[in-house]
Amino acid sequence: MEDMLEDTVLVNLRVNGKLHELEIPAHKSLLDLLREDLNMTGTHMGCMTGHCGACTVSIDGRVAKSCITLAATLSRAKITTIEGLTEEDGTLSPIQQAFWDEAGFQCGYCAPGMLMCTAELLESNSDPSDSEIETALAGNLCRCTGYQSLKRAVKAAAVKAKEKAS
C-alpha cells in the first residue's frame, strides 16, 4: 500500500495558456502555487476560509476559490487568473475597462474575484439582471464600494462585451 502514497505530486497546469510542470508538496493550495511558484500575485490571499473570494481563479472554465483548492488534485487543469483576462496586446479587456470606467473597485483587493465571476457570468448571460449579478458575485466580499458601483460595472461590461462581439 505504501507504493500508492506520494510525498510530492507532479502536476501539469496550463495557466493563462502557458504550460507549467511542477513537483509540489501534497498540501499546497492552488493559491500558494500561483503566488509562490509562478510569482503571479494578481490572485490575492484574503480569508483562507473560502468566504471572501479574493483568491478566485477559473479552473477548466469555472470559477473557484484557489485558497481552498488543493493544487495536487488539479493535474492537467486549465487555469485562468486575473492576469489572463488582459488582451494579448496588454490592453484591458472589455470587462476590466468597464470596472475601471465605473469605479468597480477602490482598494482592488477583491477585484480578482469580482472580475473572474463577472467573466463567467457574461459567458452565459449577455444581459444579466440585478439579481443575477448579485447571485454571480455572492461569493465575493468588497469592503469599499458598497457593491453599487460593482453592479454598474458588470452592466457596463455586458454592454462592452456585446459591442465587441458585434
Partner: protein
C-alpha cells in the same frame, strides 16, 4: 512518516477501499476541498494523507434506473442545480443546491457528497435530502452498504470517519403534483442561514394528503418534523393550523444552537416560522 502529508490517488473504488483500510485516522478524503481546506488552512485539521477521489468514475454522474435517481457523490452543486433530470424530477433538490452559500465558486467545486458528510448544521442540502427520503451507498473495507441517510446521521459524529467513503445518493422522484419549498432565513446573499426548512406537500382538493418537513440550521443536525406534524394530513391549511404548526415545530427543537447566527431562543422561534413558511409555500405550488 514525512513531516509533510502524503498524497494518494485511487483509480477506482477497490483501490479507495484498500487505501482507506490500510491507513490510520490521519488520512482524509478530499473531493472538492470546500469543507476540508478551510479547516486545514486554519490548522484545525492536519491530514497525514490526502486521499484524492477525483479520479474515481463511479463517484460521478447523475442517472435514472428502475424509477430511482442516482447522484454520484462527486457531483458538484452546480451540476445538481442545472441537471435536467434533477430539475424535472427533484426540483426541491435543484433549488436547495442553488441556495448553498459561498457563491458561484463554491457551487463549482463543492460536492453533494462533501456537503452530506460534513454534517454541518448550517449547510443547505441535508434538510431537502431528508425530506426526500434519500438513501446513500457507503463504501468501507468491508464493502458497500446502502443505508437511509437519516439512519447514517443518527450514527455519525462528524462525517463518516476516515475509513468510509460516500459513493452515491439514491432518491425517488417527487410525486407529480407535489408542492415543495426550501425556505432559508439569511442575512446576506451568499451567507449561511439562521434557520431553514424543506417541505414537500401533496393535496387532494384543498386537504393535505402527505407532508414532509425538515428544519435545519437550528440544532446540531436537521430535525424531521414529519411525524410530529402528521396529523395535518386530512386537514385544509388555515390560519389556525399554521399557528399550530409553528408552535409545535418550535417546541420540537430541544437543544437550539446559539452562535453567531443568532441566540438559541430566537433560533427556536425561527424554526417554527421556517416550517410554517415552507409548508405554506409548498401548498401554493401543489396541484
Amino acid at each position: 512518516m514525512s513531516l509533510y502529508p502524503a498524497f494518494a490517488r485511487p483509480r477506482d473504488l477497490g483501490q479507495a477501499a484498500e487505501i482507506m483500510g490500510s491507513l490510520s485516522t490521519g488520512a482524509m478524503i478530499i473531493a472538492g476541498g470546500q469543507e476540508l481546506m478551510p479547516s486545514v488552512n486554519y490548522g484545525a485539521l492536519m491530514p497525514e494523507v490526502y486521499i484524492d477521489v477525483g479520479q474515481i468514475a463511479a463517484l460521478k454522474g447523475i442517472s435514472e434506473e428502475a424509477g430511482a435517481i442516482q447522484i454520484g457523490s462527486f457531483t458538484v452543486h452546480r451540476d445538481v442545480q442545472n441537471n435536467d433530470l434533477i430539475q424535472s424530477k427533484l426540483p426541491l433538490l435543484s433549488y436547495a443546491a442553488a441556495q448553498i452559500g459561498g457563491g458561484m465558486q463554491v457551487h463549482n467545486r463543492g460536492t453533494i457528497g462533501g456537503n452530506i458528510v460534513a454534517m454541518h448544521p448550517l449547510y443547505d442540502i441535508l434538510p431537502s435530502l431528508l425530506a426526500l427520503g434519500a438513501e446513500v451507498d457507503v463504501l468501507s473495507d468491508v464493502g458497500e452498504v446502502r443505508v437511509a441517510l437519516a439512519d447514517l446521521m443518527k450514527d455519525a459524529r462528524h462525517g463518516l470517519g476516515s475509513e468510509s467513503l460516500l459513493v452515491r445518493v439514491h432518491l425517488k422522484p417527487m410525486m407529480p403534483g407535489a408542492g415543495w419549498s426550501y425556505e432559508k432565513l439569511k442575512i446576506t446573499a451568499g451567507g449561511y442561514g439562521s434557520a431553514n426548512a424543506a417541505a414537500i406537500v401533496t393535496l387532494d382538493s384543498s386537504k393535505i394528503t402527505s407532508l414532509r418537513v425538515v428544519v435545519g440550521a437550528v440544532s446540531a443536525l436537521p430535525v424531521d418534523m414529519s411525524d410530529t406534524l402528521s396529523d395535518c394530513c386530512g386537514q385544509a391549511w388555515s390560519a389556525h393550523l399554521a399557528e399550530e404548526v409553528e408552535a409545535r415545530s418550535s417546541a420540537e427543537i430541544k437543544e437550539p444552537l446559539s452562535d453567531h447566527q443568532g441566540d438559541g431562543e430566537w433560533r427556536r422561534a425561527m424554526a417554527g416560522v421556517m416550517a410554517r413558511g415552507a409548508i405554506e409555500a409548498a401548498i401554493k405550488k401543489a396541484g
